[in-house]
């Protein structure tokens, strides 16, 4: 069992504090993804777990045992670097066996483990080559192979796919997911990439400025972001936000005025809100319908249309002047300069109070099924 626990983890570089007290529980075998904007401390957190940076405060436990004072090599973690960090003068075989060699394993055992890992990653024909003579994807696999060989309790990945081209990235993503399924080890994965996070994670940790914003499954984060930041960060294209004015407050309802004078009733946790307050309405591009038959209607002026084949991105402005993005079906007939009315369901949209806190009711995937819009409507 190799649970990973972070408890009040704080990191300061000199005067500057970059990680502000992180608590996190990862159970054995989970695939955890750290996402967040650049500079939010993803790499630093990973390096703290690895033991490449020293903790300023707090504790890190692996398998229940504190590793805060153990050197990196004794923590039972292995890391894949963004740059791969393969030893340039060693062959693939030597690269993969280096950790075992340092741990004084005997030659036969090293060979056996290296060949086993090479078989998993289809690296056998490349074992005698130097990294220089490998393609990007092959280097990536060697870097992963190097970690497998040591059979660590926790795998750490720091943006491992960011140097690969799009196609290879998809392929490696699948391979890492398969690897996780096959090995069943705990994995912590840092990425910038939305899609990687959503597709690979059992659990996503959204970070901002050295703090955890939300932890949850991909779908949980997608449907019930705790605040405006997470709502904007998860999902691509980005969620649309509209400033609204509160006209009237009941216990579990708000009467709002949308930009463009449309008035609507919204279910919400209205405690602490008064009429005249400002709230933010959020709706994902893929939840906006091309027709005007749903509850909330908007008039838009289309500016740019991008046909991706399977779907269409529409960039437009609505009456209030704010930019709005729609994701509609691939065969949509929307044209630039169109002036048209679109709509969306009040059940699928989010509402945030002045502090960005989500005040819309909790959403459950099953209950939303019938409202699932977009592509279906055009088909």
């Amino acid at each position: 069992m190799a649970d990973l626990q972070l408890e009040g983890v704080v990191k300061r570089f000199g005067e500057v504090q970059t990680i502000h007290g992180i608590d996190l529980d990862v159970t054995h075998g989970e695939f955890v993804v750290f996402v967040g904007p650049s500079g939010c401390g993803k790499s630093t957190l990973l390096r703290l777990i690895a033991g490449l940076e020293e903790l300023s405060e707090g504790d890190i436990r692996i398998g229940g045992e504190s590793v805060a004072h153990l050197p990196a090599a004794q923590r039972g973690v292995a890391m894949v670097f963004q740059s791969y960090a393969l030893y340039p003068h060693m062959t693939v075989r030597e690269n993969m066996g280096f950790g075992l060699r340092m741990a004084k394993f005997d030659k036969a055992e090293i060979d056996r483990r290296v060949e086993e890992a090479a078989a998993i990653l289809k690296l056998e024909p490349l074992l005698e080559r130097r990294p220089k003579a490998l393609s990007g994807g092959q280097r990536q696999r060697v870097a992963i192979g190097r970690t497998i060989v040591r059979n660590p309790k926790v795998f750490l990945f720091d943006e491992p796919l960011s140097n690969l081209d799009a196609e290879l990235r998809v392929q490696m993503r699948v391979e890492i997911a398969k690897l996780h399924a096959a090995l069943g080890n705990t994995m912590v994965y840092v990425t910038h990439d939305q899609v990687e996070a959503m597709t690979m994670a059992d659990k996503i940790v959204v970070l901002r400025d050295g703090r955890i914003e939300q932890v949850g499954s991909p779908l949980e984060l997608y449907l019930n972001p705790v605040n405006e930041f997470v709502a904007g960060f998860i999902g691509s294209p980005r969620m649309n936000f509209f400033e609204c004015r509160v006209l009237d407050v009941a216990d579990d309802r708000l009467r709002l005025e949308l930009p463009g004078d449309e008035r609507i009733d919204m279910p919400a946790d209205a405690t602490g809100l008064r009429s005249g307050d400002r709230v933010t309405l959020g709706i994902r591009p893929e939840h906006i319908l091309e027709h005007d038959r749903a509850d909330i209607r908007l008039a838009i002026d289309v500016e740019v249309v991008e046909h991706l084949g399977g779907s269409t991105f529409v960039y437009a402005r609505h009456i209030g002047g704010d930019a709005i993005t729609l994701q509609v079906g691939g065969l949509s007939d929307i044209q630039p300069k169109d002036h048209r009315r679109v709509s969306f369901s009040r059940q699928i949209c989010q509402l945030f109070d002045g502090d960005g806190r989500n005040i819309s009711p909790h959403k459950v995937p099953g209950e939303l099924k019938d409202e699932e819009p977009g592509q279906a409507a055009t088909a």
Partner: protein, 381 residues
């Protein structure tokens, strides 16, 4: 139908023509670029030619004459005489002198006596111009190595010794210093400047200062040595003892020049990705393993360059010897360069000095090529 065929044809033709036009343009541009290249490198090439190639060719030419530095007589062609004088070596074996009874004559110390070498050499026309280089005794025989210019042979061996001592010391020192200052500490640039400062100090000044440091009676070095060993060791006559003189010059030279190699190593160190050290740390490599498995291999190319350039530089040893020992004691610090200058300028035999330079140039070239070949072979492995 017709017209369409015609059209295709004409299109094809014009495309060809355009292609040909582009190719000529391209060639012209290339030619123009090459011309600029020559033009821009001309000043440097001119300097190289005037101050390096031409003097060397003149030296080669002069080495076949009997040119004197300042002489009213026209120089004459003498063929290979200078080279012969330079490179001739021979040997002979002497029997111990025997009395009329056939017994070996011994001196007061019981050592056998040998006939005077000078008389032997004078007496035999085959040994004309030869002088003793070195000799050793084995039982009742004495083996003598002869050379027409024994001082040259000695200088050559001294130079080799200097190179073999100073290259490892200087490169090791440079690497050590580079490792020391290759870290993000406050004020590290001050150390960098300090370590580099001997390089920008005149070698003549450094030599004079070190002559004082090495002084037998008032030198700081002997003072420290005696203080640290409670008077058990020393005082050593660093520059006056033929065993110590060369090592003393080696130490001082390595100290003076290693700053340059230190900077080169520093650049090499900074070219090694920090990720590699972190990966090695995770792989459980300690400091020493990291040095051995990451740093050294990562510095390979730097190392080749540093060793090659230091070797060539070391062969040119002159100033320190000239200032500190004048080649002595007993020629133990005389180097090829020193000897060439002594012959060519002090004794005004510029033709002979030229011959020394030419031979020495070839030797250095050969050694540099061998070194390069050695490193290339290792690279290929």
């Amino acid at each position: 139908m017709h017209s369409s065929i015609n059209e295709t044809k004409s299109v094809g033709l014009s495309a060809d023509a355009a292609g040909a036009g582009r190719a000529t343009d391209f060639r012209q541009a290339r030619r123009r670029e090459r011309r600029y290249g020559y033009l821009l490198s001309f000043p440097a090439l001119l300097g190289l030619f005037m101050f390096l190639v031409l003097p060397f060719l003149m030296a080669v030419g002069m080495s076949f004459t009997d040119q004197r530095l300042l002489s009213p007589n026209a120089a004459e062609w003498v063929g290979l005489r200078n080279y012969e004088r330079l490179l001739s070596v021979d040997w002979l074996v002497q029997e111990a002198e025997r009395s009329d009874l056939g017994e070996v004559v011994r001196d007061a110390g019981g050592e056998p006596e040998f006939p005077s070498l000078r008389t032997v050499l004078r007496g035999d026309p085959a040994y004309r111009e030869y002088r003793e280089f070195t000799s050793w005794q084995w039982g009742e025989k004495r083996y003598v190595l002869l050379a027409k210019d024994p001082r040259f042979i000695q200088s050559f061996l001294n130079t080799l010794l200097f190179v073999m001592l100073v290259v490892p010391l200087q490169c090791g020192l440079a690497l050590g210093l580079a490792l020391l200052i290759n870290r993000q500490l406050r004020g590290i640039s001050v150390f960098r400047a300090i370590f580099f400062s001997p390089v920008v100090t005149s070698i003549v000044v450094v030599s004079i200062v070190w002559t004082f440091l090495y002084h037998r009676d008032v030198g700081v070095l002997n003072h420290y040595l005696q203080a640290l060993t409670f008077g058990l060791v020393g005082p050593i006559d660093w520059l006056g003892d033929s065993d110590w003189a060369m090592p003393s010059i080696v130490i001082m030279s390595a100290w003076q020049a290693c700053g340059v190699q230190m900077l080169i190593f520093l650049a090499g160190l900074q070219g090694i990705s920090q990720d590699l050290y972190e990966a090695a740390e995770l792989d459980g490599a300690g400091r020493w393993s990291q040095f051995w498995h990451i740093t050294l291999p990562g510095l390979r190319n730097t190392m080749v360059f540093v060793i090659l350039s230091t070797t060539v530089q070391a062969f040119g040893l002159f100033t320190q010897v000239d200032v500190m020992t004048g080649g002595g004691p007993q020629g133990s610090t005389s180097t090829v360069m020193f000897h060439a200058v002594a012959k060519g300028f002090r004794e005004q035999d510029i033709a002979y000095g030229s011959a020394i330079s030419v031979v020495f140039f070839l030797v250095i070239l050969l050694i540099a090529l061998l070194q390069k070949k050695f490193f290339d072979a290792r690279e290929a492995k």
